[in-house]
């Protein structure tokens, strides 16, 4: 039940955020594939409350640039890497807040500021709620996990 609720909330939240704030309709993708590409953009944020946990967003470089361009109303080639990173951090922030509001609307949470992780960093994703979507010319995968450790890089198993 717990797992189904979080998976469902994660899926709904991603689609809602992409549609309302990024003006993007995404298609459900296959299962996340292990490993990473150097061009991936990876954002992570932790949240504290009952429960605490974290969310990690991994987006292929092309999709990240496309999403950032839609969000900022700019041409993809005009964007700097920093701008793309800021938008993906904001996307992670919105998805995380949306999931928590759906699953635990009566609780109180504090979301940390999102940060970018090196794409090659290994993430402990075992038992995490997961959603993969095809977005533009790439793929977006979100992992969300509650409980300890509050940091996804504290343990190692590749997502």
């Amino acid at each position: 039940m717990f797992e189904r609720d979080w998976n469902h909330a994660l899926a709904e939240s991603i689609e809602d955020v992409l549609e309302k704030m990024f003006f993007i309709s995404a298609l459900q993708g296959d299962e996340p594939q292990p490993g990473s590409a150097r061009s991936d953009v990876v954002a992570q944020l932790s949240f504290e409350g009952e429960p605490s946990g974290w969310l990690v967003l991994r987006i292929s470089g092309g999709a990240a640039r496309s999403i950032a361009a839609d969000f900022l109303g700019a041409e993809e080639q005009e964007l700097t890497s920093a701008q793309v990173g800021e938008v993906i951090c904001e996307l992670a922030n919105m998805i995380c807040g949306s999931v928590l509001s759906r699953v635990e609307s009566e609780a109180a949470f504090r979301l940390e500021s999102p940060r970018l992780l090196p794409p090659e960093m290994e993430i402990d994703c075992e038992g995490a709620a997961t959603r993969t979507l095809d977005v533009g010319d790439g793929r977006l995968t979100a992992f969300m996990k509650t409980g300890n450790p509050a940091c996804p890089t504290a343990e190692k198993s590749v997502c």
Partner: protein
């Protein structure tokens, strides 16, 4: 009538989006100011008058709650309409921000028209 709006958010991307959504929605702006946290916003308000404020909650240096407290404690700013724009849609948080004086609360994600509607509501713009 056109308005002067202050956006308070630590994310430059979010500030840019909010500004763009206001412009695209047809909301009439004469000036749009930006600040990265409550402290910057208070400094800006000492030199620029605004008609409405859109503020995030989780920000470094001075967060949205403290910003609201400071606004409310200042006679000059107490009546300024503030809309909270946040990912946090939990009841506790919404009630706390409203009790601190926020006139509106928009949960991200929101459709673009919701921002204009909320701004017009707190500014008392008559419906056309």
């Amino acid at each position: 009538m056109a308005y002067r709006v202050l956006i308070v958010d630590d994310s430059p991307a979010m500030r840019a989006l909010v500004r763009r959504v206001m412009e695209l929605s047809g909301f009439e702006l004469t000036a749009c100011f930006e600040a990265a946290n409550g402290e910057e916003a208070l400094a800006l308000l000492r030199s620029e008058w605004v008609d409405a404020i859109l503020t995030d909650i989780n920000m470094p240096s001075m967060d949205g709650e403290e910003f609201m407290r400071r606004l409310h404690a200042d006679e000059l700013f107490r009546s300024l309409p503030v809309i909270v724009v946040s990912t946090d849609g939990t009841e506790n948080r919404i009630q706390r921000m409203l009790s601190l004086g926020a006139r509106g609360y928009l949960i991200k994600p929101f459709p673009p028209e919701a921002l204009r509607a909320e701004l017009e509501r707190v500014l008392g713009v008559p419906c056309v």
